[in-house]
Symmetry: C2
Subunit: 346 residues, 2 copies
């Protein structure tokens, strides 16, 4: 799922997102709650109509951003009090409010309100926040079940920080609740990848195979393939879009940093093996010029390329599941991205 934080995949129009093959994207309840407000989107007939995206939309609950973007936040058993990053006003978000907001958005897949556990975090605090997430999950579910004819479904979220037993416990607890899908939250928050992989393992072990498993906020092409091999089914990540706006591209040759002066008279495509609109129509030299000149077209063309890359990667991954050849993709990507890692740093 590409990320359309404020009801827009940054720099791309929704028809282009559809044309790239995406049939689901993620929007952030937190941002939309503050601007333009969920009541306006409800009046518009829901997010799909508002932003003119006809396919599926998953919304997060807002919990993560409350922690990462609000200068002030206070957490109680009842919910979270935080200040709007736009005007400083005080806002209260509780599990019932998170469900209501997502219903107003007309979300197809809603997420329970969860707590964001910082990294690092001690065991006791992690246990406490994980238990609170469980309590809120139950309240979200109850609130959801009280809706007559809900449009979307509601997913649970596993927390547990970086502690194996808490991850396992959380996965067992959350999977005991009748959600149609389960997410693994609180990862990619700065922990080493070995820990992330271990935590995914602890969670996946207890999540039913017949229901979708969704790893939130992950990740690089390699992270994704790795997690698929562990049994994860769904992903969202800002990486393809955000990296594009910073000039870092994913290609069949590994990373390309378009700011690099070596491309100033390189009239070959960004990725000779890529069939996207950008690679078919423009050269590295032109893309570099646009980027250096801060032309808005740079962000559009580079975002388009990175999302195309991810769409094609996921196509390959789906096929490889059937062919039982994920290992090959994993090895290919490991070599490729290790070899070109310095491009990103330059």
């Amino acid at each position: 799922m590409p990320v359309g934080t404020q009801a827009s995949i940054k720099a791309l129009d929704p028809h282009t997102v559809s044309a790239l093959g995406f049939r689901i994207l993620l929007c952030n309840t937190y941002h939309l709650l503050l601007r333009p407000g969920t009541e306006i989107i409800k009046k518009a007939g829901g997010l799909h109509k508002f932003m003119n995206f006809p396919w599926l939309i998953l919304t997060d609950s807002g919990g993560f951003q409350v922690f990462s973007l609000s200068s002030f936040n206070k957490i109680t058993k009842e919910g979270i009090i935080f200040r709007s990053y736009l005007d400083g006003s005080e806002i209260f978000l509780n599990p019932e409010g998170a469900i209501l907001a997502q219903c107003e958005l007309g979300s197809d897949i809603m997420m329970v309100l969860d707590t964001c556990i910082p990294y690092p975090c001690d065991f006791e605090k992690t246990r406490e926040l994980t238990n609170l997430t469980h309590h809120w999950a139950e309240r979200c579910l109850e609130s959801y079940l009280s809706i007559s004819k809900p449009k979307g479904v509601l997913f649970g979220i596993v927390q547990g920080g970086m502690y194996e037993d808490l991850r396992s416990f959380s996965a067992r607890y959350v999977s005991s609740l009748p959600f149609p899908g389960y997410a693994i939250g609180g990862l990619s928050v700065g922990e080493p990848s070995e820990i992330r992989i271990k935590m995914i393992e602890c969670a996946v072990e207890h999540l039913p195979e017949e229901k979708p498993r969704y790893l939130m906020g992950v990740g690089t092409p390699l992270d994704i393939v790795e997690a698929v091999m562990q049994g994860v089914d769904m992903f969202d990540c800002v990486l393809p879009t955000r990296n594009a706006r910073r000039g870092t591209l994913f290609t069949s040759q590994g990373y390309v940093n378009i700011r690099n002066s070596r491309y100033k008279d390189d009239f070959s495509p960004l990725d000779p093996a890529c069939a996207c609109y950008t690679c078919r129509n423009f050269t590295k030299a032109y893309l570099r010029h646009l980027f250096q000149a801060k032309e808005l077209l740079a962000y559009t063309l580079l975002t388009l390329h990175n999302l195309y890359y991810y769409a094609k990667l996921m196509e390959r991954v789906r096929l490889a599941i059937y062919l039982d050849s994920l290992e090959l993709i994993y090895e290919e990507l490991t070599k490729l991205y290790q070899k070109t890692a310095e491009e990103v740093e330059e």
Copy 2:
């Protein structure tokens, strides 16, 4: 002609510009000289290939921007010395250099190097700078004629400041040189519209009817229709694209300022009478949200609309020339834009 200063119509990809019906655009030699450098564009096979725009490209000579964008510039009979606004380096531009740069760009219509006369400016200074423009025009022409098989054509530019006799003199002088088209420069620099109209009149009177007359840097829909009625054939202006990025739209109802809070829950199109992609697919409420949230998609969708508006206006204008009904368009636009002028200010 929409303006693609740095080899890109800001926020639009060149295929969209083509799809809007534009078959010619303007690029700025000054900007491209400094970044990425005309030699790189030459290596790319010219501007058309570089930016992937298959139709015509007109390039200005760089004179105007040397004056408006350079903190330091010194003008002699030989040419202009100025500092790059990018790195402060000292650059010398003379008539021969301006032609060379435009040849390297692969321009279809090149412009002679001219001087930019400030407003206001006394008679003596205006006369001096106008004579220098004439001298440079001759050198540009000589330089151009020495090229074997030039790709593009070269237009002359009438100056003369805001003095009727100098305008007439300049128009007579420049039109005595065998250019295939003539531009009227140095207007829309802050002077009242009555003066601009008078200056156009003085120039047009002496410019041959069978060759294109090009009014540089003008203007609003009304300015354009007015100038067409005076006998002008070609225009370039940043107004549709720049206004779009500032949230000011041209519509069949007059100005719309998309930032206005009255649009926050207005789910009608920007312009109900408009058939552009933006008006067919998005509401004012969504466009306002994108704009307020500084989403890049706002600039793309609003630019697209304004350029569509200008393209359709020029279609109407061309038809009205044959039907002898320009006066009707003029009256319609006068009422419309006077009535909605406050929208822009809000």
